[in-house]
């Protein structure tokens, strides 16, 4: 029973994490994921590897383990299959939760605090994105290296065994490959030793050297960000940004996640402020008692948040993922202290915990759900296009119905190149429904020009898929009809009678399309523009069925605007034909003329009861 309880103690937090972020485990790829997944396609020679792994990329980041190598290795092994990536993220977080539990247990000497810390951290909505979006794995891996380094430090402090000290160095140095935030580790180590093991403080000072070197190299090597949300502002705005993050951390707001109109009920919001006051009160009380550990936990929050405080215009909830370790530990310790102090403080702790879970958990689930839903839409689009390409290997694929979120979550990083798909574009007019974010990229680069689309569709060299539903839908026919309606006022000198785009120009007697052409009954009409100049002719292209010639040669009568153009005689059936007729001068420049074709006779092919005559492909004025 004791062993069972002990196992539950360690297993419960990861299971809780799995329950909260279950949808995150099932999420597919989105946004930056595609850029990272496509990295290995940028490798042409061995020397490219160094650049690919270590050259500063987006916003000057250098994160070889958590982004580049992670995606390259997993993509090489598993392809564009998201589940292994997600499992790896969850495994890493399982280790993180275990490490945190162990650390808090050891530093507070409270099993309860050790149990609560990972649970409180898990409930934080700051983990919603890292647990649901693979590109945010850097937060999880950074937490791993920081927690691992710190637990090695604790072991060294406890045992004096220098091996732990060396392990700490190894984990710390490795941490630079996860996230730039790793530079704060020496400050965490120094703060802890100052607070709880002062005799060890001086040994932590050399840890600052790699951090200083990293900052120096990063500043020299990484490109400066001169504009956009990632510009750093080292001014008084830092304090405002810090307060905003405190709000978010306590659940008082959820940046960019919950629309403002769906604010929290006042009672819950009040609970959040009670929670903040309780945490602040507990910290001050502990500090007054010279229990500096509370200062360390608060310091963890501040120090790990520090590097992003200068990003005034890019406040993002997930930047709190690592700082929340400090607040979760502080909260867990406060709850454990309250529990130990008897029945007076227990209800207070219970109310605070309830207030926290009541706001944080739904938000965490909401963030996870949002990323899952978005990733599912992206998956449907990308794999839908893969399928569309299989069905239409040579045609240009035009995507209609792609709107803002889907475009910026999927298309901007060109996921199609992962499947070696080319010639995939947005249908003309799509740019109306996609908000522009010039700092992220260009929408218009993806939009296929209207004229070319019209031309390709007319030649059956393009297909249109609607991406606005759950699955991609082939809407080529509808799209062509609409394009045809749009084109009502332009002059048409050529008609493919089987093309839906020209349906509006055909009279009512034509039979339905069959294999790229149409039969007509005895008589059929259509509308074409008059000739542009003298000498132009009307050409009719079609196929003459043999059955029409059972009674001998067939006469074909053609007129334009009621005026006879001539009579052609077809001698043999079972073959294609082209007929040409002169056009009279009075039709030159006419916006439209009605062309009528009449066959001398018709036939029937039972059980088909239709009266059939010639089968036409196109009519041209040239």
């Amino acid at each position: 029973m004791k062993r069972l309880a002990r196992a539950a103690y360690w297993i419960a937090p990861p299971l809780f994490c799995l329950a909260v972020y279950w949808l995150g485990l099932k999420a597919w790829f989105q946004q930056d994921d595609f850029a990272w997944l496509g990295l290995r396609y940028d490798v042409e020679k061995w020397s490219d590897w160094f650049r690919i792994l270590f050259a500063p990329m987006a916003q000057g980041t250098i994160r070889p383990w958590s982004e580049r190598l992670f995606f390259i290795v997993f993509e090489a092994i598993f392809g564009v299959e998201a589940l292994p990536f997600r499992i790896w993220v969850f495994l890493t977080q399982t280790v993180n939760l275990t490490l945190l539990s162990w650390i808090v247990w050891r530093v507070t000497k409270s099993r309860l605090a050790g149990f609560l810390a990972p649970v409180l951290w898990t409930a934080s909505s700051a983990l919603g994105r890292p647990m649901s979006w693979t590109s945010a794995y850097n937060q999880i891996l950074c937490a791993f290296f920081l927690l691992a380094s710190f637990q090695f430090l604790l072991r060294w402090i406890e045992t004096g065994d220098e091996r732990w000290w060396r392990w700490q160095w190894a984990a710390f140095l490795m941490g630079f490959g996860a996230l730039e935030l790793n530079v704060v580790y020496p400050a965490l180590a120094a703060l802890y030793t100052l607070a709880c093991a002062r005799e060890r403080f001086r040994r932590t000072l050399p840890l600052f050297l790699p951090s200083a070197l990293f900052v120096l190299v990063h500043r020299l090597w990484a490109p400066k960000v001169a504009s956009g949300p990632y510009v750093m502002h080292f001014d008084a705005s830092i304090f405002g940004t810090f307060l905003r993050y405190c709000h978010i951390a306590l659940g008082a707001e959820h940046a960019g996640i919950i629309p403002p109109q769906t604010g929290w009920p006042p009672a819950v919001a009040a609970g959040v402020w009670i929670l903040g006051a309780a945490l602040a009160g507990f910290t001050l009380w502990q500090l007054a008692r010279r229990q500096w550990l509370a200062g360390f936990f608060a310091g963890w929050f501040i120090l790990t948040l520090g590097p992003v405080l200068a990003l005034r215009d890019h406040i993002s909830e997930y930047y709190l993922a690592v700082p929340m370790i400090g607040l979760a530990s502080l909260g867990a310790w406060a709850a454990a202290c309250a529990w130990r102090s008897g029945w007076v403080w227990r209800p207070v702790a219970a109310v605070c915990l309830m207030a926290y879970f009541a706001t944080a958990l739904p938000a965490a689930r909401m963030v996870s759900h949002m990323h899952f839903e978005r990733s599912r839409a992206v998956r449907n689009l990308v794999l839908g296009v893969v399928r569309a390409r299989q069905l239409h290997p040579r045609e240009v694929i035009l995507l209609a119905g792609v709107e803002t979120d889907l475009f910026w979550s999927a298309m901007i990083d060109n996921p199609f190149r992962l499947f070696k798909l080319k010639d995939v574009y947005l249908a003309p007019g799509s740019e109306d429904r996609i908000r522009a974010f010039p700092e992220l990229g260009s929408v218009t680069d993806w939009v296929f020009p209207t004229k070319q689309a019209w031309s390709l569709l007319g030649d059956y060299r393009a297909v249109v898929y609607d991406a606005s539903g759950v699955r991609l839908r082939n809407v080529t026919t509808n799209y062509m009809r609409i394009l045809g309606a749009l084109d009502t006022h332009s002059r048409v000198y050529w008609i493919d009678v089987a093309n839906p785009a020209f349906e509006r120009l055909l009279g009512r007697t034509w039979w339905a399309v069959e294999g790229g052409s149409r039969f007509m009954p005895k008589r059929a009409t259509l509308r074409l523009a008059g000739p542009r100049s003298a000498g132009q002719k009307l050409y009719l292209n079609g196929w003459a069925p043999e059955k029409l010639f059972a009674e001998g040669p067939l006469k074909v009568f053609v007129s334009a605007n009621g005026r006879p153009l001539g009579v052609a005689t077809l001698v043999r059936g079972g073959q294609i034909f082209e007929l040409a007729f002169d056009l009279p001068a009075e039709l030159i420049g006419a916006e439209s003329m009605e062309v009528a074709v009449e066959s001398q006779r018709t036939f029937r092919a039972p059980p088909d009861v239709r009266d059939l005559s010639l089968r036409f492909g196109s009519f041209t004025v040239r």
Binding site: G429, R435, N478, A485
Partner: protein, 177 residues
């Protein structure tokens, strides 16, 4: 605990697994619908099946129910059966936003299809509105008819946001007379 840490650190080298591997990955392919839905006679702008009929001037879907339009927008509708003989009624259901009306005071909406112009109507109150006009059967004979709408006054780009904002549209359709 020590064993656990050793196991965890033991997994780390997996991150540096073979990189040169470039085998072709099997692709799990989803189904696409090759059969297009029938063009709609009445469309709700939130209906994914009708998105393709919102030809131009419609912005992204908001709150899963409505769309802002630009000053000019167009929609393609399938005429109802028999409309070419009896004619039909074009109905545009929309809302005039307070923020827009405060600036422009009144908004006149008009529509046309080809050369046929439908009479304009002026709106001076915010809230839900309907623009309703008879459409002659003579232009409703085809498979699809394009209606182009124009609003005389709207918020220009940059006034409130980067888009030109005119009406908040929910439904557009043709009803048999």
């Amino acid at each position: 605990m020590r064993k656990l840490i050793i196991v965890v650190l033991g997994l780390a080298p997996l991150l540096s697994a073979p990189m040169g591997c470039r085998r072709t990955q099997p692709v799990k392919v989803d189904v696409v619908e090759e059969e297009a839905p029938k063009l709609a006679t009445v469309i709700h702008v939130a209906d994914p099946k009708a998105t393709v009929q919102l030809v131009k001037g419609f912005y992204e879907l908001e709150q899963n129910s409505w769309r802002w339009t630009a000053g000019k927008f167009a929609v393609a509708l399938r005429p109802p059966r028999g409309a070419s003989e009896r004619g039909a009624v074009l109905q545009l259901k929309f809302a005039v936003a307070d923020a827009v009306l405060e600036r422009v005071k009144s908004m006149t909406v008009k529509a046309r299809s080809g050369k046929v112009e439908l009479a304009p109507e002026t709106y001076t109150k915010s809230g839900e509105q309907i623009y309703s006009r008879d459409v002659p059967g003579s232009i409703l004979g085809g498979e699809v008819v394009l209606f182009e709408f124009e609003v005389d006054k709207f918020l220009p780009p940059g006034a409130v946001e980067q888009r030109e904002l005119a009406l908040i549209v929910t439904t557009i359709g043709l009803e048999l007379k």
